[in-house]
């Protein structure tokens, strides 16, 4: 009886040891193995996988393994890994992360590598390089870029005899005209209260295009909250009116992502006539829709028309044992060969100029030149993620009737002041 028990124990221990064996066995090979971590889902990365396979076939000495980790989890994971001496060799980064990571030495300074072998057509060719630069040193290379544009159903607009609305006021009017009462709504947008809700984008487009902004550097090193209670109240009232007038469905108050089926499918089914999307989401919506979809410029405000320029950069882990090889691979990813199969807008002016945009993506072509990065927020003493969470929360409070636009605007300004004071400390 006793023997039997120990035999079983021994058996399970053996199992464990075998398990331990299997993961370490593969590493002991001569060639360099690099790990590249990215955060897009499999359906968006088929072209990237193809490009990496091509690299691996051409470079038997430098084999690259792609890892996927969702974007929301990546920052915290890097913050755990890099100080411990671990982490992937090459990291896919949202534009807005690079400086935060660089400030805490979680990214390798790239200047020596750039000096030895400059990327693409030279650094000046890259969009949004400012976001990847800290104290004059470069910590990431902008890789892909995107901006947002309005997406709509041309058939529904035609049916209502409407041109695509040019200004925010036109959008509100058109939205009401496009709302039919039998399940078709004029304008659908992610109005959720999540810290990462898409509402943040619309709020800033509206503020910026009307000449305001949440925070700005009024003199060198001197940061001030610029938006007034009136600015914010006007913005809140503007978006809340879509719900008040019934030209946007109330269920959007719980929708945070532009990739939500409520929006992607809504456009395809014709339940929404107009929404706003980044390019990848627009393509997903096109694939689902039976009728052609179109994009158009973001509505203009009283001062200008504007959207934000976002995208992803590539960074190298300071723990990597093979910085040269990693840099060679980064250069390959930046090159035209990758973009031949990887369906993304490159973050290099020369490559963007060569792109052939399909007609339906005209809205992006129009917005790209006027898009601006979140640089002014990123350089400020307040974490952009905190600002985003605060704004989304208070807009959600207005949409759900918990606070009036005035109360919510004051709440935003008070908390921004607190955040600014804390950040400057």
């Amino acid at each position: 009886m006793k023997k039997d028990y120990w035999r079983r124990l021994a058996l399970s221990t053996t199992c464990l040891v075998t398990l331990a064996g299997f993961s370490s066995a593969a590493i002991a090979q001569e060639q360099v193995e690099l790990v590249f971590r990215q955060f897009d889902p499999p359906t968006e990365t088929e072209g990237l996988v193809a490009a990496i396979e091509k690299w691996n076939a051409a470079n038997p000495d430098i084999q690259v393994r792609m890892e996927t980790m969702s974007g929301a989890d990546t920052l915290a994971q890097l913050a755990r890994e890099v100080p411990a001496g671990a982490g992937p060799d090459i990291q896919h980064l949202a534009f807005v992360w690079t400086r935060d990571l660089a400030r805490s030495d979680l990214l390798l300074e790239l200047d020596p590598l750039i000096a030895a072998e400059p990327p693409g057509a030279g650094l000046d060719d890259f969009l949004a390089l400012d976001l990847a630069t800290l104290d004059g040193k470069v910590y990431g290379v902008p890789w892909t870029s995107d901006t947002f544009a309005m997406a709509y159903r041309p058939d529904l607009l035609e049916g209502a005899d409407l041109e695509f609305p040019d200004t925010w006021e036109d959008l509100a009017t058109a939205s009401e005209a496009l709302t039919t009462g039998d399940g078709q709504f004029g304008f659908c947008f992610p109005a959720g209260s999540s810290p990462d809700s898409g509402m943040w984008m619309l709020v800033n487009y509206y503020l910026w295009s009307n000449g305001s902004t949440l925070i700005d550097e009024t003199a060198p090193g001197q940061w001030e909250i610029v938006a007034t209670v009136e600015d914010l109240t006007a913005t809140m009232t503007y978006f809340n009116d879509f719900f008040a007038s019934g030209s946007a469905p109330e269920s959007l108050i719980t929708v945070n992502s532009w990739g939500d089926p409520e929006l992607v499918g809504g456009l395809g089914r014709g339940d929404c006539a107009i929404t706003f999307f980044p390019p990848q989401t627009f393509r997903a919506a096109e694939a689902q829709a039976d009728v052609p979809l179109m994009t158009a410029a973001i509505p203009a405000g009283s001062v200008k028309r504007i959207s934000h320029l976002g995208g992803r950069a590539l960074g190298i882990n300071p723990n990597t044992e093979h910085p040269e090889e990693a840099w060679a691979f980064v250069q390959y990813l930046l090159g035209p060969d990758t973009f031949a199969t990887y369906n993304q807008y490159p973050a290099q002016k020369s490559l963007v100029a060569e792109l052939d945009f399909p007609e339906s993506e005209a809205g992006y072509v129009e917005m790209m030149p006027v898009a601006q990065t979140y640089e002014r927020y990123i350089s400020s003493p307040i974490a952009v993620s905190s600002m985003t969470a605060l704004v989304n929360r208070e807009f959600g409070a207005v949409f759900s009737g918990q606070r009036s636009p005035e109360e919510a605007s004051k709440a935003i300004l008070t908390e921004l002041q607190d955040l600014l004071a804390r950040g400057q400390n």
Partner: protein, 313 residues
């Protein structure tokens, strides 16, 4: 082997040393695993609560700030609201409903008919279904079922003429808690049911028969005989579900992200956003410590009221 003998203390007295050391030997492996896994990290968590440290500087030592983080957390008016949300709508309401529904369902499913008709396996597998659904999918499915336009619940309500227009349950302050509670109870109920079922199965049927012969009716049997026998299991389930729910982050986060506005913000989501959105690990850890202290006090009180009584028996 199963012939019960009268109490035989001789066996134990014969090996005084073994008897004295044996309990420690028996609990040692578990304690070692728990100590390895929890002790260091728990101390780290407490230490972090006294520092000012950004998420990006986790590898470094933060600035020691004494009780500043706690002062900030405790003086923030949103903490009070989040504490209330955590304690009442999230925890108390769902724990009580789960216990009551779980007990009723377990009693129903323990009916002899399921055993006689050999439906036991079917019933117990059906019970399990909500629980084996991954939380992210369970919440997504519920969000869609509750959707104002496309959701089956609203389509059914509108179809039967009960309401005229679909209700966006998660967007309205009047219904959002009910919706979140429904999701949580739905997915967590099976745990309570199968735990109670297992306890019910271990109650010998002779006890019921005897009571019946003594003239007790069905209700009396369940409340006077069965319920007291379930007490130890109910006690454990109540304690653990309370702690788990109080610390639970998943349901609120997936269903509402604390919204609309901050209407469903709970301590766990507040801790998460403080740590990973505001990147303030020290303050986040302080919220975590506050939560731990509250639950520890609860557990201690509970432990001494419930388990003492049992230990002395």
């Amino acid at each position: 082997m199963t012939t019960p003998l009268p109490d035989a203390p001789a066996a134990r007295l014969a090996r005084p040393w073994g008897a004295r050391l044996e309990p420690y030997a028996l609990v040692l492996p578990a304690m070692a695993v728990l100590a390895f896994f929890f002790a260091g990290p728990a101390i780290y968590n407490v230490a972090l609560a006294f520092q000012d440290l950004s998420l990006f500087d986790l590898g470094k030592e933060g600035r020691w700030v004494g009780f500043d983080n706690f002062a900030e957390v405790l003086s923030d008016p949103s903490t009070g609201q989040a504490l209330y949300n955590t304690a009442v709508p999230l925890t108390a309401v769902t724990v009580v409903i789960r216990l009551v529904l779980g007990l009723l369902l377990a009693l129903l499913l323990n009916a002899t008919v399921f055993r006689r008709w050999r439906l036991g396996w079917l019933v117990r597998s059906l019970v399990l279904i909500p629980w084996v659904t991954p939380p992210v999918v369970a919440v997504a499915a519920w969000k869609w079922l509750l959707d104002a336009r496309y959701g089956a619940v609203n389509q059914l309500l509108v179809g039967t003429g009960l309401i005229e227009q679909g209700i966006p349950f998660l967007a309205k302050t009047s219904t959002v808690w009910g919706a979140v509670e429904t999701m949580l109870i739905w997915r967590e109920l099976p745990f309570v049911v199968i735990t109670f079922l297992a306890a019910l199965q271990s109650i010998p049927s002779e006890l019921r028969e005897a009571a019946r012969i003594d003239g007790a009716n069905g209700w009396q049997i369940e409340t006077r005989i069965v319920l007291p026998l379930l007490k130890p299991v109910i006690a454990v389930v109540t304690l653990l579900t309370t702690i788990w729910t109080f610390n639970n982050f998943v349901y609120v986060w997936l269903a509402t992200r604390g919204g609309p506005g901050d209407y469903t913000q709970v301590l766990a989501t507040q801790m998460y956003t403080t740590s990973f959105v505001d990147y303030r690990m020290g303050t986040g850890a302080a919220i975590g410590v506050v939560m731990s202290v509250i639950m520890f006090v609860f557990a201690l009180v509970y432990f001494f009221v419930i388990f003492r009584e049992k230990g002395e028996k």
